[in-house]
C-alpha cells in the first residue's frame, strides 16, 4: 500500500473492537449480487454460487425465487432444496419461520427489495433476510439498482417511472461482499425483452446504459467504503486511492466561482468527490469574507464538503487536510500580488507545489 502508519489505539477502543468482532462472528454473512436491470443474470449468478457451495458441502437452501425464470435457472433449481414461498392475503412471502427452524448454513434470497403482503412480520423481504443473518444464517441475495432507496431519484430521472419497492443503501453497504452482474444492454433486452414491455426498446437501450453506469459507480463506491473499513480494521492509514478527490482552496484574491465550478465539473466527470476549503480569519478581511459566502453556498450546491481551516500556515493546513482525505488534485489560484517577503519565503503556491508530494496541483489564473 501507499504510505501507511500504525494508528495508536486506546484500551476502550480495543474493547469495542473485540465486542464488535464477536457480534460480527455470530452473524451470518451477506453477499449481494447487484444488477442494473432485470435480465442481466443476477438470479442465475446467485443460484450458480449456491450450486457451487452445495457441491463443496455447504448446507444451502433457496428461500425465495422469482416466478419467471429461464431454462438455465430451472436446471440449477432442481439440484437445490427449495423452501416454498408462503401465500398470504393475495401475496407471497418468504417462509422465515420454516427457514429458521430448518437452520441451513446458506439461504438464497432472490429479489431482496420485494414487498411482503400485508400482515407479514416485516414489510420488506430484506428485513426477513436481516432476521436470518441475525440468527447466524448466511444470505446470498439479489438487488436491482432501481430499488435502492437513495438511488431512486436518479433512476426515476433516467427511466421516468417510479417503483414502490425499496431497500436502503445501508443494507447494501453492510454486505460482506457485493458483486456486480454486468452485461451489455442488448443482452438484457434479448433475455427479458427489457425491463418493461411498455417502453420501446430503442429508447430503453440508452436508458439501460445510463442505469448500468450508475450501478457500476455505486459498486465502486461500496468497494471504496469497504476499502476504508479494511484499512481502519488493519490500523492503516491509506493516503492515496483510485477515487479522484478534488480539493479547491479558496484564497482572498482568487476567482473562486470559476474554480469551484471547474472543480465541480471535474469531480462530476471523474465521478469523484469535491472538497472546498478556505483559510480562517487572518487571511480574509471582513469584505473578502462577505464575498466568500455566495461561493461557499455554490460549493454546497455542487455537493462539496466545505471546511474552514485553522492555523496561520495555509500550506501546512491544506496539505494536512489533503492527506487525511486522500485528495488527488488540489486547485489553487495563482498569487499575483506577491510581496518581496512572500517571494523570499517562496510564496504559498510555490511552497504548495513543492510540498504536495503525490498530489496534482492545478494553478488557476487569479
Amino acid at each position: 500500500m501507499p504510505e501507511t502508519y500504525a494508528l495508536r489505539r486506546d484500551p476502550e477502543q480495543l474493547l469495542r473492537e473485540v465486542e464488535a468482532q464477536e457480534a460480527y462472528e455470530r452473524r451470518g454473512r451477506l453477499k449481494i449480487f447487484l444488477g442494473y436491470a432485470s435480465g442481466v443474470g443476477k438470479s442465475y449468478r446467485m443460484l450458480d454460487e449456491g450450486r457451487r457451495r452445495h457441491t463443496r458441502g455447504e448446507d444451502v437452501v433457496v428461500g425465495a425465487m422469482q416466478a419467471v425464470t429461464s431454462v438455465e435457472v430451472q436446471k440449477i433449481l432442481q439440484t437445490l432444496e427449495v423452501i416454498p414461498l408462503q401465500r398470504l392475503n393475495g401475496g407471497e412471502r418468504m417462509d422465515i419461520d420454516l427457514i429458521l427452524s430448518r437452520r441451513p448454513q446458506v439461504c438464497l434470497v432472490d429479489g431482496l427489495a420485494y414487498n411482503n403482503p400485508p400482515g407479514s412480520r416485516h414489510a420488506e423481504r430484506w428485513q426477513d433476510a436481516e432476521e436470518l443473518l441475525e440468527a447466524g444464517i448466511s444470505v446470498i441475495g439479489t438487488v436491482n439498482l432501481q430499488y435502492i432507496e437513495e438511488y431512486q431519484e436518479q433512476v426515476e430521472h433516467v427511466t421516468g417511472s417510479k417503483t414502490t419497492e425499496t431497500i436502503p443503501l445501508g443494507f447494501v453497504n453492510n454486505a460482506d461482499e457485493i458483486e456486480v452482474v454486468d452485461a451489455p444492454p442488448e443482452e438484457c433486452i434479448e433475455r427479458f425483452g427489457c425491463n418493461d414491455p411498455k417502453r420501446g426498446t430503442a429508447a430503453s437501450q440508452e436508458q439501460l446504459s445510463q442505469l448500468r453506469e450508475i450501478a457500476l459507480v455505486l459498486a465502486a463506491e461500496v468497494v471504496d467504503r469497504q476499502l476504508e473499513a479494511y484499512v481502519r480494521r488493519h490500523g492503516l492509514e491509506q493516503l492515496w486511492g483510485v477515487h479522484e478527490r478534488i480539493l479547491v482552496v479558496l484564497t482572498p484574491r482568487a476567482n473562486s466561482t470559476h474554480m469551484i465550478e471547474s472543480g465541480g465539473r471535474n469531480a462530476r466527470r471523474f465521478r469523484g468527490d469535491l472538497f472546498v476549503v478556505h483559510p480562517g480569519d487572518p487571511y480574509f478581511t471582513p469584505e473578502e469574507k462577505a464575498r466568500l459566502e455566495p461561493n461557499l453556498a455554490l460549493a454546497s450546491r455542487l455537493g462539496a464538503e466545505v471546511e474552514a481551516l485553522d492555523g496561520s500556515d495555509l500550506v501546512t493546513s491544506v496539505l494536512q487536510f489533503a492527506r487525511t482525505r486522500g485528495i488527488t488534485q488540489i486547485f489553487i489560484a495563482r498569487n499575483t500580488a506577491e510581496t518581496w517577503w512572500e517571494r523570499l519565503r517562496g510564496g504559498d503556491v510555490d511552497r504548495l507545489i513543492s510540498e504536495a508530494e503525490g498530489i496534482d496541483v492545478r494553478v488557476f489564473p487569479s
Binding site: 440508452e206 446504459s209 459507480v217 483510485v242 466527470r269 465521478r271 450546491r301 496541483v361
Partner: protein, 383 residues
C-alpha cells in the same frame, strides 16, 4: 453482431477484470458457446487455460485455431496464428489476453495489434484484459500494487471497442479460489498470494476496474451529456449558453522533456483529457544557442522515446525551438488556445532550475491553468 449488412470492420468486445482467476476467459468462452448455439461461425484464436478445469470444460466443442510455434534464442514459443485466423475467416474470433506481448521477432509486438488485423479483416473479436493493462493507469497501478506493468494497451484501442463488460468477483472469493488451487498450481499460488494478490491491492484494483467500466459505458452512451444523472448542474454563469460551452471545452498541452517523469505527465494528461473530452497535445522545446543545455545523445533518445510514447497514445506532438523554454512553451499554448498546461514535478537532480521553470510557466501562463503532475511514489521516505 446482429446487423444485416456485413460490417467492414469487425466489432470488438472486451471482458475487463482486475486480476487473474476472476473468470474473464470463462465468460468469453461462455459467450462463444452461446454464439455457436445461435449458429454464428465462431473460433478460438487463442486461449490460455492455465490448466483450469472449468475453463477447459467451457471451451469444449469450440473450434480451436492451432497455435503457431516460434523459435527465439533456442527456445520454442507458442503464439496466436493470425495468418491462420485470416485464412479461416470466421465471423467471430476469441482472443484471450489482449495485452500479451508477442515473442520478439514476431510481425507485431503486441497481441492487440494482431487483433487489429483480425478486426480489419471484418472478423469480430471477443477478448479479455485486466484494468491494470490500460496504459494511462500504469502509474496508478504501480502505486497501488508496486508492480510496473510491462504489457499495456493504449487507451485509444480500448476506446475503439464496441463494448466493454466488467467481469466482477469480490477479492475474498478470488483469494478463496487461489487458496483452493483453482487459479494457479500450489507453488505459484502461494507466491501470488504474497505478492500481487494482497487483499487491499485487489480491492483497489477492483474499484479501478468498476470505475473504468462505468467510464467506458459513459463514453458509449449516445446522449450528449449524461451528467444530469449524477448531480445538479451548477448555476449557469453569466453569458449565453454557446459561450459557456466553448469556455468549457478544454485543450490540454503536455510539456515533454527527456526526464523520466515526462511519461507520468503524458499518461496523466491523456487520462484527464479523456475524462474532460479535451483535445490533447504534447510539445518539447529545443533550446537554440544554449551550449551547455543542449542534450546528450542519451537524453535526446529519451526525449524521442517520450514523444513516440505520446504519439502512441494518440497525442499530437510538436518540437518547438526557442531561446527561453518557458516563454516558447507558453507562447505556443496561447496561440493554440490551450486551457491547461501539464508539467512534470520537480526532479530533485535539478531542483532549483525546475522550480524556477515551473514558477516561470505559472507566471507567464496568464489565463491558462497549469497542472503540476504528482510523482506517484511507490513508497515515500518517512519524514
Amino acid at each position: 453482431m446482429n446487423q444485416s449488412a456485413i460490417p467492414s470492420r469487425g466489432s470488438l468486445k472486451i471482458y475487463l477484470g482486475y486480476a487473474a482467476g476472476i473468470g474473464k476467459t470463462f465468460k468469453m468462452l461462455e459467450e462463444g458457446q452461446k454464439l455457436k448455439r445461435e449458429g454464428v461461425d465462431v473460433v478460438i484464436g487463442y486461449f490460455e487455460p492455465h490448466g483450469r478445469k472449468d475453463t477447459m470444460v467451457v471451451a469444449e466443442g469450440l473450434e480451436l485455431i492451432p497455435r503457431r510455434k516460434i523459435e527465439y534464442r533456442g527456445a520454442v514459443f507458442e503464439d496466436m496464428d493470425t495468418e491462420a485466423i485470416l485464412r479461416r475467416a470466421p465471423r467471430v474470433c476469441l482472443v484471450d489476453e489482449f495485452a500479451h506481448s508477442n515473442v520478439p521477432g514476431s510481425e507485431r509486438a503486441k497481441r492487440w495489434e494482431d487483433a487489429q488485423i483480425v478486426l480489419d479483416a471484418g472478423i469480430s473479436v471477443l477478448t479479455t484484459m485486466n484494468v491494470q493493462h490500460i496504459e494511462s493507469l500504469n502509474d496508478q497501478v504501480w502505486h497501488i500494487s508496486g508492480i510496473r506493468m510491462r504489457e499495456t494497451v493504449p487507451d485509444w484501442v480500448i476506446r475503439q471497442a464496441d463494448e466493454v463488460v466488467m467481469v466482477d468477483l469480490p477479492p475474498g472469493a478470488l483469494l478463496n479460489r487461489l487458496r483452493r488451487g483453482a487459479v494457479y498450481p500450489p507453488e505459484k499460488a502461494s507466491k501470488a498470494l504474497e505478492n500481487f494478490f494482497k487483499e487491499s491491492t485487489l480491492v483497489v484494483l477492483r474499484e479501478l476496474a468498476l470505475r473504468q467500466t462505468a467510464y467506458e459505458v459513459d463514453v458509449r452512451t449516445p446522449s450528449p451529456e449524461t451528467e444530469t444523472a449524477s448531480s445538479p448542474e451548477p448555476a449557469p454563469p453569466a453569458g449565453s449558453q454557446p459561450l459557456a460551452t466553448a469556455a468549457n471545452h478544454d485543450r490540454i498541452l503536455i510539456y515533454v522533456t527527456h526526464d523520466p517523469l515526462s511519461a507520468i505527465a503524458i499518461r496523466r494528461g491523456r487520462r484527464v483529457a479523456d475524462y474532460l473530452h479535451a483535445d490533447c497535445f504534447a510539445v518539447a522545446v529545443r533550446q537554440n544557442g544554449g551550449g551547455h543545455s543542449s542534450l546528450t545523445t542519451v537524453e535526446r533518445e529519451a526525449l524521442d522515446k517520450h514523444l513516440d510514447f505520446a504519439r502512441n497514445l494518440h497525442i499530437e506532438t510538436r518540437v518547438l525551438e526557442g531561446e527561453n523554454i518557458a516563454e516558447t512553451l507558453v507562447n505556443f499554448a496561447l496561440q493554440r488556445q490551450i486551457t491547461q498546461i501539464f508539467l512534470a514535478r520537480n526532479n530533485s537532480r535539478s531542483g532549483v532550475f525546475r522550480k524556477d521553470f515551473v514558477r516561470q510557466v505559472v507566471h507567464l501562463a496568464r489565463d491558462i491553468q497549469v497542472t503540476i503532475v504528482a510523482e506517484r511514489h511507490r513508497t515515500s521516505e518517512p519524514r
